[in-house]
Structures are given as C-alpha cells and as structure tokens.
Amino acid sequence: MSSILSDSLLFWRPELCLAAGALLSLLLGAWGRPSRAAIAMAWLTVFATAFLLAAAPGPSSAALFFDMIVIDPFASVFRWLALATTSIVLLMVVGSRDGTEPDRGEYAGLVLMVGLGLMLMAQANNLLMAYVAVELVSLSSYLLVGFADDARGREAALKYLFFGALSSGVMLFGMSLLFGLTGELGFLGLLQAASGWPAQPPSIVLLSVLLILVGVAFKISLVPFHMWTPDVYEGAPVPVTALLSVGPKAAALALLVRMVVALQPVWPALGPVLIGLTVLTMTFGNLVALVQTNVKRLFAYSTIGQVGYLLIGLVVQTPAGLQGMILYLIAYLFMNLGAFACLAWVVQETGRESLDAFNGLGRRSPALAFLLALFLLSLAGIPPLFGFIGKFYLFGAAIQAHHVPLAVAGAVNSAIALYYYVKLIRQMYLATEDAPVTPRGTLPLKIAAGICAIATIGFGVFPTFILAWLPQVTQINLL
C-alpha cells in the first residue's frame, strides 16, 4: 500500500508542488504586507510546476491513489492548459491596479488553488474525486469573485455561492443515486455496471445521470444553467472573470468527457439532449451577446457561445471531435485570455466597463487596439488566426460524424457572433473618443497580451506542430 502511495506521489509531483506553493502563497500573503514575498512565491511555484510537468514521463497512462486519479495524455493536456491559464491570469492579477493590491498574496494563492483544482478535475477517475475537485475550484472561485470587496463584487460572490451550492447539491444527489444503483464510484466500475443495463436504461438511472450532468453544466455555463454567468462575470475583478471564462470551462469539459465515456451505455438516451443543449447554448449565448452594453457581460455571453462550439467536439463522439475540442480549447485559452488582458488594460485606463470605454481606442493606444482586434477576430474565426483552425476542426468533425446540422448551427452562429465582435472593433476604430485618458497599461498586462497574441497568430499560421501532436492525445482509452 505504501508503495502505491509513493509511486502515485512520484507521478503527482507537479500537483504537489502547486498545492504546496498555493498554500505557502496564501500564508505569506496573510503575514507579510506588502505582498511581494507571496507573489514571488506564486511565480516560483508556477515555474517549478512547469518544470516538473515538463520532466514528467511521456505519454503513458497511470492510475494513481487506488484508481482515484488517472494520469494519461488527455489529463496531461489539461494539466498544461490549467497551468497556462493560471500563469496568464497571475500576470493579469499582478498587472491590475484595482485596489486589491494589499491582499494580493491571498489573491495569487487562490488563483493557484483554482489551478490545482482544474488539474484535478481533468484527472478524476472517480465520482467522489470529481466532486472534491469541482468543489476545490468552486470554493476558491467564490472567494475570488468577491475579492474586489465592493457591493457589486459581494453580490456576485453571493449569487455564485448560492447557485454553485445548489448545483453541487444536485450533483451530489445524482452521484448518491448512481452509487446506490450500481455500488460503484469509480468510472471504470461504473462503465462495467452500465454495460449490464438494457438498451433503454431505467428512468432512475437517467435521472441520476442527468442530475450529475447538471452540476457540470453549471460549471460550463450550459444553457439553461448559465444564469449566474453574466452577473458573476460583471461583478468579479477582470482577472478573475478571465480565469472563470477559461479554466473551469476547460476542466469541466474534460470531466464531462470522462463521465460520458464511463456512462457510454446511457449515451443513446442522453445524446439527443446534449446535442439539443449544445445548439441552444451557442445560439442563446450569441444572440443575447448582441444586445449587451457592459463589456464583461458581453464576454460572459460570448463565453456561453464559445462553450457551445466546444461541446460540438464532445457530442459528436468521435476522436476527431475530441481533437477539435482540445485544439479549440487551446486556441480559446489564448484568444480569450488575451482579450481579457486587453479589457483589464482598458478598464484600468478609463475606469469604465461599458462598451463606450472603447471609443477611439484605435487612436488612443494603437497597439492595444490592434491586439484586442486580433483576439476578437480570432474569436470570430477569421483566418489565418488560431481560432479559425480550431473552428475548422470542430465543424469538420461534426460533418465527418454526419452531424451536419451541428456544423450548420455552428457556422450560422459564427456569423451572428461576428456581429458583436466587430461591433467592438468598430467602436475602437471608427467611433471618436469621449474624453482623453492617460495610458496606464502595466508591463505584466502587456506581457500577458503579447504572449497570447504570439500564440494566436503563430499557431494560426503554422498549426502543423500542434495538429501533428493532437492524435496522440486521443488515441488512448480514457479510462
């Protein structure tokens, strides 16, 4: 038994490092003010984790901690995604001047904590583990959302907490039902149990699966479980909104992929529902985004729309779909975080979050406007940017799997989404600014936006490397 533990810990060094670093940052942040030491600790943690991840054994699968956790190539991708998200968000945290400076140590520590939770979510191989991971992300997120400590932030945090607690409860209830029905918590055991079910499983099974899905759906803002998204995004500090719009979405999708594989026998009954919700999610998100006037709310709905595209990769149930999903997730990470870095920059300069804060940005700070325009065009799927390649793969996967209506829905939605992305570009370049503002972009924000821009253009024009590597990720069995 001790050998299992020590072997497991060997594979799990990046996570251990991240956990220790997060706790230390929190601790240092609580003690020392200003928070320089805690921030330094956080950066050290990020680099150490990256180093350990890079040194981790290559593509192989290993079940750790008595099958609670699985490390496979699929999980590795999400480890990197989680770390990349965390570090870019950390840059934004350090770069923003929004009055959270004194508590920055705790801020950074919590961000790392979310990062750890995200990694766990993608590795969970057991319902209980999945629940713990989701809760780790959720609890840290509640705190982060209320971090700005103003009325709006507190309202958002409370709202997020209530919605989150409710959905966690529902999910837990579903899990307990499923456990009662099968006596299994591990995904592998569930698959074996589920294989014995008749073609049309009893409705109690479906109910329990649906309840579990509700919990995940809440995390990825699947319509109709998206209600909290705009309010929370609006109230949270910009870096936190950025984190929420990428990290939990990616990790929850990974979890969803594993659960769908585990519950494969239920898929015929479940599939049509998920496909319907996919189309509903993208259409609803994009349509409502059209009429937003607050830029964070706009991005909240845009995120909902983007999640819709991502889900295409899941619901088509093919390796190509999964590859498309991962590819688009990577693209989405860079372009969305990049856009948020630019938003943080603008909000900092103007002190406003309404869309007219962007008026005349093209004249005021051409570099910033160019970067933001780049990210928006990539989100809209204009070639030769990274977002286009991702969409190309996703829609292609849908067509390949004979889900042509899904591809058509995605294409129509891309056209709708273009409207509001370009509306923002229009304001930056074609509208005249209302009042002069002093440029106040900080170096970390510039670095964050710069990294994202390089990835967005670089992988867009030369995607060969990343495309060649994709099949490795999905070749293996996910359980």
């Binding site: 829609f395 067509i399 591809a407 056209a415 273009l418 370009v422 060969t464 994709l470």
Partner: protein
C-alpha cells in the same frame, strides 16, 4: 515563383510601410506605389511569359503548409485566372495612385490597402481550397476598415454591412469546403476538379448551394446584392475602384474555378437559377440605377446590372458564354473603375454627387467630359468598346439554352442606355450651373490613372481576340471538365 514574387510585392510593401514613421506620408505613399508598381511590372512579365496555347495550369508552385491537413501553399494560373490577376495588379496600382485623395492616417491606410491587394491577388492564384478561403477572408478585414475609416456618408453602417454579409456567405463556403475535404481528403482544387464529378448528385447539389451562397454575395447576384450600393457609395474613391473593379470578380472567378469544375452536375442543375438571377439583376440594377439622383449610387447599381451578364454567360456553359463572362468581368473592372475615378474627380472638386447639382460641365471641363462620355459609352455597351463584347458574347452564348433569360436581359440593355444617357446629359449638357464656373479640369495625376484604362477599353473593344486568345485554351478545358468529355 513569379506568382509568389507578385504576392510578396504588396506584403513586403506592407511591412516596410509599417516600419516607417507615421509623420512621413510621402515616404509611405512612395512605398505603396513602388510595391503595387512592382506587382504590375511582374504582371506584365507574367503576361509575356504566359503560353496562351497551354490549357493547363502554368507557373505552379506547391509547398506543404499544414501537413496533417494536407494543406499546401499551392498557386498557379491559367487562362481563367490570368485576366483577373492582370486586372488586380493594374487596378491595384491605379487605385494606389488615386489614393492621394486620402488626407488622414496615411500609414494605416496604405498598410491596409496593401493587405487588401495581397488578399485579392492570393484569391486569384490559390489552387488549394484552404488557402483560397484564407485569402478570401483576408480581404474582408482591410476592406472593412478602409470603408469604415476613410469612407463618407454612413460609412460605419456600410462597412459593417459589407463585413457581415460577406462573412455570412463565407460560412456556406466553409461548410462546403469541409464536406469536400472529408469526402476526398484533399483541398487541392486540381485534384478535386478531376474527381469531383464522381460525387453523387444530391451531395453535389448541397455543396453547390453552400458555395453559391458565398460566391453570390460577392458577385453580387440579386437578391444578395444589397450590401453593394452602400459599400460602393460610402467607400473612398480608390476603394470604390477596387471594390467594383476587383472584389466583385472574386465571386465570378470562384464560380469558374471552384463551383462549376468541382461540382459540374450540381452546378448544371442550378443553371436556371444562375441565369434567372443574373437576368433579374441586369434588369433590376438598370431600373434602380435609372431612379438614382446620386451619381455614385448610379454607378454602383450599374455594377449590379453588369455583373448579371457574367452569371448569364457562365450559366450558358457554351464557349461564347464563358468567354463573355470573363470578358465582361475584365471589361467591367476597367470601365467601372474608370467611372468611379471620374465620380471621384468630380466629388473632389464640388463635394457633391447629386446629378441635379451639375449641368453644362461639358463647356467648362472638356477633358473631363470627353473621358466621362467615353466611359459612359463603354458602360452602355457601345460596339467598339469593351463593354459591348462582354455583353454580346454572354447573351449570344446563352441564347440557345437560356432564351427566356436572354430576352428578359435585353430589357436591361435598353434601360442601361437610358440611365447612362440621362447621367451624361444631366452632368455635361444643358446650361452651365453658375456654381461651377471656376471648376478646374482633370489634372495630370488623374489623367495618369484614367488614360491606361481608356486605352485598354478601346484596345480590347476593337480587338477582343487579345483577351479571348489568352483565355481560349483554358475555357475549352473548363467546358470539357464541366460538360464531360
């Protein structure tokens, strides 16, 4: 290699212009003119090196780009694309010369302009569907800004409408490209041309509809044309020239290069639709043009009318019709380009485009009047000038198989004469409006932009074989591909 060099001209120019300081508009303009001029010179070299007797692709270059997807940087031209490439480099240079009317934000303007030229050139030389799509979309972004920032009137609305319309259409193209790829595992247009006919008819029809939506918006075919009057009118003069002269041809060319050869049976089953919409466009555009009081809008609607002939000629699938379609595209490019330049000349001086505001200019500005009459006549389809050849061949080719469309379209020809003559009369004839007593005539630079177009209109009008000879082998090959051996 020469095609890549040509494509690199605007790209290098763009990078140099980016590196230059903002407060040196003269330098930036010089760079842009050099870049487009170099592309034009390469165009002439290309024309001389082109072998008109070879039906296949020439000057091909193929380099792997995205290996996992089988995407190649694959460029080449034949007789179908050569006229379009020449048109692009010629108008690209001329519109760049005419860009001295741009007075603000020079650096951004020329950078975007060069990007636009690169995108258009790329569209006409791409032989890989993926590459084609990238170039096709690449044109949108600079065009949006060029209309939106430097335009007039409701420029924001027009730029926006242009962008959203075209991108919505592009989604159809994207879906069709994807479907083709998953059926055939290739984006190579030449391979697809050779194998496309073996796809089942139902699928071909579906794919053609996808392509059709995207291409028809660009041509533009009635009823997908509504972005055109807005965009053309509100764009600054040089951009109107590019829009009407080159951008619209992307649609027609795409039908020739992709729609018809890859999906011959699908395309043939929609021949009636192409011809019908083309004929409606001819007549509708002409009638609406007749009702305009804004000179630029009149020219814009005349484009809708003239591009209708392209659709009719294409749909006929006869040698005459296809020759006519390409000829009409080329001719419309230079003639309407000239018309927009003239409207720009007038607007520069008077700051109005209202037909009623002019009158009697013929006395005051003889050079302008001569040019205006010349291009109007070419646009009207006067025999001896290029417009006549294109329209005549299109209708001739279509007469047997699409008689109704041809007969209907002739109404449009009559109306074209009506609105062109009305415009000429209102601007040039009658008593001189006292306001324009001191109107200066066309200056040297403006002459420089207009005379090449004039000469070309005359040359290919009198000796159409000059252009048709270049196309002929490729047109024959195109028809064999579409109609089967």
């Amino acid at each position: 290699m020469i095609l890549t060099q040509m494509l690199l001209c605007p790209v290098i120019g763009l990078l140099v212009a980016l590196a230059l300081p903002k407060n040196r508009p003269g330098w930036i303009r010089a760079v842009a003119i050099t870049a487009t001029g170099a592309a034009l010179l390469l165009g002439v070299k290309l024309l001389l090196a082109f072998d008109p007797n070879a039906p296949g692709i020439q000057f091909q270059q193929r380099v792997s780009w995205i290996a996992p997807l089988n995407v190649y940087y694959n460029v080449g031209i034949d007789g179908l694309s050569l006229p379009m490439v020449l048109l692009t480099v010629l108008l690209g240079f001329i519109a760049c010369l005419a860009s001295n009317s741009i007075k603000t934000r020079h650096k951004e303007y020329y950078v975007l302009y060069l990007l636009l030229v690169a995108g258009m050139l790329g569209t006409f030389i791409a032989l890989d569907l993926f590459l084609f799509y990238v170039f096709w979309e690449m044109v949108l972004v600079p065009m949006y800004f060029l209309i939106g920032i430097w335009g007039g009137g409701r420029r924001e609305y027009s730029a926006f409408k242009f962008f959203v319309y075209t991108l919505a259409g592009s989604m159809g193209i994207l879906l069709s490209i994807l479907t083709l790829y998953f059926r055939t595992q290739t984006f190579d247009i030449l391979t697809l041309t050779a194998t496309g006919h073996s796809l089942e008819l139902g699928l071909q029809k579906l794919l053609f509809i996808g392509f059709f939506v995207g291409f028809a918006v660009k041509v533009p075919l009635f009823p997908f044309h509504t972005w055109l009057p807005d965009a053309h009118v509100d764009a600054p003069t040089p951009i109107s020239v590019i829009l009407a002269g080159v951008l619209l041809k992307m649609g027609g060319y795409a039908f020739l290069r992709i729609g018809y050869p890859i999906l011959p049976d699908g395309a043939r089953s929609f021949g009636w639709l192409m011809a019908g919409l083309g004929a409606i466009g001819v007549v509708y555009g002409a009638f609406v043009a007749l009702a305009q009081t804004d000179l630029k809008k009149l020219v814009a609607y005349s484009s809708v009318s003239h591009m209708g002939f392209v659709a009719i000629g294409l749909a006929s699938l006869t040698p005459e019709g296809v020759h006519g379609a390409i000829f009409q595209m080329f001719s419309h490019g230079i003639v309407t380009g000239g018309m927009f330049l003239l409207v720009g000349v007038l607007y520069e001086r008077t700051h109005t485009r209202s037909l009623d505001a002019f009158g009697g200019l013929g006395v005051r500005v003889p050079k302008f009047s001569a040019l205006f009459i010349f291009f109007s006549m070419a646009s009207l389809g006067l025999p001896g000038l290029s417009g006549f050849v294109g329209e005549f061949l299109s209708l001739l080719g279509a007469y047997e198989s699409l008689q109704k469309a041809v007969i209907f379209a002739t109404i449009g020809i009559v109306m074209t004469a009506a609105y062109t003559l009305t415009a000429t009369q209102k601007v040039l004839l009658g008593p001189l409006n006292e306001k324009w007593k001191a109107l200066p005539d066309v200056d040297g630079l403006e002459m420089l932009t207009l005379v090449p177009l004039l000469v070309l209109t005359l040359v290919i009008g009198v000796y159409p074989l000059f252009l048709i000879g270049l196309q002929d082998a490729s047109v024959q090959r195109f028809l064999t591909q579409v109609l089967g051996a």
